[in-house]
Symmetry: C2
Subunit: 397 residues, 2 copies
């Protein structure tokens, strides 16, 4: 312990004094806990990691006050908001960029409803890469401000998220850019599976009974299943935790598919929910989500916006964890899962808190970096017009 020996006043400020000596400092070097710990099961060759920002190694919180309030004595929160852009998207961004740097690529692209775009913009900036982001025209000015502050070039696709994905993927193929699109690049799954490894290690090489996770396009859940399956393949455990996927009741295509029921139009309206991050009409890897849930003996549950806001308030007020509505969906889903008999309060329950909202230092976005686009020609024209300027570039990767 710290042996305080007294205190002195120095220029009006009280300073505690100790018994000083060289042994007061730890002997071993501090090591950051990051996802690169799992290099042996990641698709990158030997050699130093080039991505210059530590990613992953997020805390697994035991949240005593929340446990008490919910009567869940073995609840754990995997706090992915502690990543640099405050979401679990940073894992995929980092591994995709690491891979790209090793292949000499200079430009990365993605389509996104929000967090993946912000993560890509900040991650590319850190790595000295250029980011070209495709969003739908209803992307909020605050999110745009975050992207342009980090120097990204943003295109608003008139045809919505699906059109943004098409444009981004076509641009990647045409110009040879690094493609970070969710569900397309298998490297994103590799990155996100490290959450499973971390939870297992943080529980002392034990598995939780249940893991609950928000589902939009699907990679977060599918990657968790792959991570736990790889622990089985490695002979380190014999079973997998049950995976429970959570969707917003206003956009729940995978819940209905799971139940084998037709989905009603009111249940496919992404604009009708606050949980933009998981409101996807046609999930990129929906079949893989259903397959992963089935193989682990889990389930899919819908939650209301009110339930997500209450969950966000409970995370903040009972665990000190800030989360956006989609980021708090797993906690909302816990109640739904208990009601449906998919989980029991006495089990070891791990909840992924996937993201929180950030603010840009300057509330307005840079309009020179944001263009409405309908075709790849629009993209090429906009970027070429900036060729030769200090901030512009040509489309070649």
């Amino acid at each position: 312990m710290g042996s305080v020996t007294g205190s002195v006043d120095l220029a009006g400020c009280e300073r505690l004094q100790y018994d000083y000596g060289p042994d007061r400092m730890p002997k071993n070097r501090p090591v950051l806990f990051t996802m690169w710990r799992y290099r042996e099961l990641l698709p990158i060759p030997d050699g130093p990691v080039r991505y210059p920002v530590p990613i992953g190694g997020t805390p697994l919180l035991h949240a005593p006050a929340l446990r008490h309030a919910l009567r869940t004595p073995h609840l754990w929160l995997k706090d992915e908001t502690r990543n640099p852009s405050a979401s679990n998207k940073d894992r995929a961004t980092a591994l995709v960029i690491e891979d790209g740097l090793r292949h000499g690529l200079r430009t990365i692209t993605t389509a996104s409803t929000g967090n993946a775009a912000v993560s890509t913009a900040f991650g590319a900036a850190a790595a000295g890469m250029r980011a070209v982001i495709f969003v739908s025209t209803d992307c909020s000015p605050e999110k745009l401000a975050l992207m342009t502050q980090a120097g990204a070039w943003v295109f608003q696709a008139r045809g919505g998220y699906a059109a943004a994905v098409d444009l981004s993927r076509t641009a990647a193929r045409t110009f040879g850019w690094l493609d970070r699109n969710t569900g397309v690049n298998p490297v994103t799954i590799e990155a996100k599976k490290t959450v499973a490894f971390e939870v297992w290690e943080q529980l002392g090489r034990r598995l939780p009974d249940v893991v609950i996770v928000p589902v939009g396009d699907g990679p977060t859940l599918v990657a968790l299943e792959k991570g736990f399956a790889e622990l089985v393949s490695c002979g380190l455990t014999t079973r997998q935790p049950r995976l429970i996927g959570v969707q917003a009741d206003r956009c729940q295509p995978l819940v209905r598919a799971w139940l084998g029921e037709p989905v009603r139009p009111a249940e496919l309206d992404p604009a009708a929910t606050l949980a933009g991050g998981i409101a996807v009409v046609r999930p990129a890897i929906g079949d893989a989500v259903l397959d992963a849930v089935r193989r682990t003996g889990g389930g899919m549950v819908p939650v209301t916006d009110d339930a997500m806001l209450s969950a966000a308030a409970a995370l903040a007020g009972r665990a000190g964890v800030g989360a956006e509505p989609a980021g708090a969906a797993a906690l909302a889903g816990l109640e739904a899962a208990v009601e449906r008999g998919l989980a029991d309060r006495s089990e070891t329950l791990a909840l992924l808190v996937t993201g929180r909202e950030l603010k840009a230092s300057d509330a307005t976005y840079d309009p020179r970096r944001v263009t409405v686009a309908e075709s790849l020609d629009d993209v090429e024209r906009a970027l070429s017009s900036r060729r030769g300027t200090t901030s512009g570039f040509s489309c070649s990767a």
Copy 2:
């Protein structure tokens, strides 16, 4: 390295395969790097740490693209935005609460212009404590929303920040609450000095030549000086880095005092700068700041709002680090320090990035938790009126 042996398609999703075996997982347990690493020089007794959220152990980034742009080959960013409420205030919050928990206290209070209030609200929630926060009436609704979301009780002091400090300190004395006020509780300095230990260790037990840091009330700079001085006292190093403090040119009492010049009214206007977090008319421990700067051979520099916004853009666009204007002040101050001959681009320069802005999941604050107050009677009346309700409490600690 990860030896990918092939890939399979599973339900429409490409999955990479490896040569699996138990040796693919690290043998040692992962350890989070946190400020508790420095227990031997912290004023808490032996035994498990009670504060339930990891704090500190933030990355020291080498920011290659920013180094290149600034022609500062040995620049380092100490990224304090990676703390749970995205600022360095979390260190002080955690150690004060740890101390309070060990003394059986149930309520914590502070006055704040913003970040310390948000940090206290979230930290208290994590620890199951009640937070009573005093702000001035011009505190933004967004910051209030963050505080009330975490369940804090907020009082807006009509007399501004100085009145808020008075009320908070009086309430702490009268009701026996834990007093987290900046510059009052020496434990806050103890917590923030761990940044010095971390920088020294992260540089391989070497010191930077210069450390640049934003200055409002002063504890961050004073604590750094104490941390480096303790490394000298321990016999682990013989010198200290030069400390350079940065203030907004619209509120620069300590820069003028440092230069021995009178301060003009236009230089004492906290409302005139975007850098609210460092705009303090009467710094709580200003004399100690000047003393620390003098003893390390450093200096004090003013920066404009435009310079801070440019610095925030450079941090985002060249290093992938989001920062609010006050949080980016150290980078703005680097240019000013170089101009004045206080630092050289070729030196080993460590810049503290102290905070970034967060958003609450719900944009509006809970009005039941926010009260305008002029006296302690107002505080007691407001809190007592909630006695017996599930969310209210009496004033006893």
